[in-house]
Symmetry: C2
Subunit: 319 residues, 2 copies
């Protein structure tokens, strides 16, 4: 991987032009936050830029993109943020593969696909890596950029709950909170707590059908797509359900298997204190972090897929 | 209220002897954390001290008190921590009323009952106030004290989610995280996420019987004591359920009414972005903060008590 330090990255950003900023498919708070923060930084430098994503921005993150409108233009520079792997570009992969000049990321699993990288695997979020970069550039962080950076750090750390929320993360948020009196509590409530009645009902159904194994150290929830239709719950709305299985006392590996409308399954995994789910996710061609990862399985009956995930997880726990 | 600054409070702590440290009844992470942190500080000064509480320390907080054993002795000095009001001393009130030399607290509602006060109503937690004091004293914070202080700040802010989690709170935690590599994520999971199967079932029952009013801006959950017996859920275990009603989209005031085994009701209230529940709690002789408060109601049928709480809350919302 060709690494740039903060000074080199800053020079790159100041000198680039006509930038397409790529964020990953199924966009989350961190890629949207870092993508739109970078957009604001480049715009402040007088550089034309836009954010490109294979999927639409979920309604819960629309507050980050309000008032932003992009021009259509051909890119002179392509920058990926929070994208660990080309596969995560989704439908944008074909168009941009081999043309990515810079990647700003924090994933330990980053494959080094970009020509140059500002990469900090110790950062909790791409937004934390970007915050560090902006501070070292002495860039005047605006209220909108602070909102983006806070959202990315908050969402990638489960509101500062996970092990990736380090001293630097807390110091960065302290700094942002000193700069701007944003409605953090209201934001946190919307991002982490509030559920529609449909989602509440879905969670209850999921929990009632929990599958457990390995002396209750593994909990798996299977979500048939028809439940989401029945309860009027969207794919984005269900993301937080990934954290449900780990809420059961004693569970070390929590698995959520989501049947996809087009067939196949998307799997989210979460690890407790002692497990590493990145190993399991990589086994199935996915990726992520030690404590949170994901993968896709294209084929198989729900029973077979769940059984396979259970077996690999058991093997990992007993390794 | 007779206020002391950090220097005066430090001088007091260095010169006192035979200290009883009082924490509030139904002890939570902040009063246990600040009480036991202060105990460790006094012990380091060679001052004999003990923590006194009307109720036992809940099992989930036992990790803060492991290995600590107190001598019996008559107090020369009495210090209350995180106690806003004498009433919150529970059964200890009679013994200590009028004899409290110092109070270390952060509640805006503190009644000024102590002879002297180290009071910071801008602090998220008594533990944050104590952290500030220890830093200004240049006291060498130990790993055990850091654990106590972190726990108090984390629990009083809902793991840094509530509006009381300020820049200073984040800076304090950044400092503690730089000092000691404690198992923060594991601790957070135990404090905030993990529920027994009984508690999971209880939450489902509570949510199924939710009462809503004022165009779904108020949500009230009523918990009959018998449910806790049926599901084997303890009083301490049920505390987190106070946050459930506010998880419903659009709710501004969330109320949990817990029937008490000895008769009467304890009420926890939470406010969304626009409401102030401290007003409502004070109306019923209780107290707390703008966004989180509590009170007790001694008499009435469940229906009458819930109706009354709804009416006062509606009046507050429409005020």
């Amino acid at each position: 991987m060709n690494l740039l330090n903060a000074g080199q990255t800053a020079a790159f950003l100041r000198e680039c032009s006509d930038v397409h900023i790529l964020i990953h498919r199924s966009p989350d708070g961190d890629c949207i936050g870092s993508g739109y923060a970078l957009y604001a930084v480049l715009t402040a430098f007088g550089v034309r830029a836009r954010v490109c994503c294979a999927d639409p921005i979920p309604p819960m993150y629309r507050f980050l993109i309000e008032g932003v409108e992009f021009e259509e233009f051909a890119p002179q520079t392509v920058i990926a943020v929070d994208v660990a792997d080309l596969q995560l570009l989704g439908d944008l992969r074909e168009q941009y593969e081999g043309k990515i000049d810079l990647c700003i990321d924090h994933h330990i699993s980053n494959t080094g696909y970009a020509a140059a990288n500002f990469w900090n695997p110790n950062a909790s979020a791409a937004c934390e890596a970007l915050y560090t970069l902006l501070k070292s550039m002495q860039f005047p962080i605006t209220k909108q950029i602070a909102l983006c950076l806070y959202t990315g750090m908050a969402t990638d750390t489960g509101c500062f709950k996970f092990s990736n929320a380090g001293a630097d993360t807390f110091a960065a948020v302290a700094d942002l909170k000193r700069m701007f009196d944003l409605p953090y509590a209201s934001l946190n409530r919307q991002l982490f707590d509030v559920k529609s009645k449909g989602r509440m009902a879905l969670d209850a159904r999921l929990m009632q059908a929990v599958q457990m194994s390995a002396d209750d150290r593994i909990a798996l929830l299977y979500l048939p797509y028809v439940w989401m239709e029945e309860l009027g719950v969207s794919a984005n709305e269900v993301d937080g359900a990934s954290n449900l299985p780990l809420q059961i006392a004693g569970v070390e590996i929590g698995i959520l298997v989501k049947e996809q409308p087009e067939g196949g399954y998307r799997i989210s995994m979460r690890a407790g204190d002692h497990a590493d789910v990145s190993v399991i996710c990589r086994h199935f061609g996915g990726g992520g972090h030690v404590k949170a990862g994901g993968c896709s399985i294209a084929e198989g009956t729900p029973e077979a897929v769940c059984k396979m995930l259970m077996e690999v997880s058991e093997a990992m726990l007993n390794a």
